[in-house]
């Protein structure tokens, strides 16, 4: 079913334009990479704050308010540019295991982001007293950053995973 949807999508005028205008894909990929820069750096800054290595003057709530909105706006740009890239190459992307793994990892990373955001709003004081030095939070912070890295790796792999039908 996914394959027939992908085949249908590749025949649409939108897909044809993306396939035939040579500069669209590199341009959209560039925007995609710039948005990745925003997302990865926002996550990295929150991690540095959790480890007390940057932004020590700010509370965890202020840190979340500074970087989490950029993360979501970055993800919106990634979704729009990603959808454009999929439209240009639906069969190679949608049915690609690297793409499917990427989407699963992305769901996990988004769930962590939402729960982090909620927890900081709800327990602002606790985050600035006990939680910051907690080992499990530090492990989760590094783990989440590694998941975001893995999402980028899986994204790069879409172009290299050869599919045969």
């Amino acid at each position: 079913m996914l394959h027939s949807f992908a085949s249908w999508l590749s025949q649409t005028p939108a897909s044809q334009i993306i396939q035939n205008v040579l500069w669209i894909i590199p341009l959209v990929q560039t925007l995609h990479i710039l948005a990745i820069a925003v997302v990865l750096s926002s996550v990295a800054m929150i991690d540095l704050r959790i480890f007390g290595l940057a932004g020590r003057r700010a509370t965890m709530m202020q840190t979340a308010d500074r970087y989490v909105p950029w993360l979501w706006w970055g993800l919106l740009v990634l979704a729009l540019t990603g959808a454009t890239l999929i439209t240009g190459e639906p069969v190679r992307s949608l049915t690609n295991p690297a793409f499917q793994i990427k989407m699963l990892l992305l769901l996990g990373a988004m769930a962590v982001t939402i729960s982090f955001q909620r927890s900081v709003r709800k327990n602002a004081v606790v985050w600035d007293t006990r939680v910051r030095s907690s080992a499990s939070i530090r492990v989760a912070a590094v783990g989440t950053l590694l998941v975001w890295f893995a999402i980028a790796v899986a994204g790069r792999w879409i172009a290299y995973m050869v599919l045969e039908y």
Partner: protein, 163 residues
Amino acid sequence: MQSFFEWLESWPLSVGLRESSWMFPAFESVHVIAIALVVGSIMIVDLRVLGLASRSERVTELSQTVLPWTWGAFAVALISGFCMFASKAHAYFGNTSFQIKMLLMAAAFVNMLAFHFIPYRSVSSWDEGASAPPLARLACGVSLTLWVFIVVMGRWIGFSIEG
């Protein structure tokens, strides 16, 4: 120069990057993640100096805590980039997008030095609040623009490289 490039291309790592099915995407992935961290962290500092974000933080403190990570990520980008260059040195060296990217990076380096040695010397007077002098703002605007185009050119290399 030609023999130097041939020597680079004969490295076992270069041969591996050309022949292996997974090595090139692995190096590209590391390169993209490193560049994302370089560009993102530079944006954070530039936007702070421009007064567009992190206004409650001191410019000095933000740059002292963020920029060491920028340099660390830059080292990773440089090494992974050099390895990819070595695998097809002739092709990259003759590639227009690659040449423009290197020139833009040289310009970003000069801009960084100019920022550091001219407006940043008086940083104590604009460390807090959104009151950086025009020269400091200019350098940070130039930096943001250059890094965007460095990413543009980097992506274009992949579409124009031959061989």
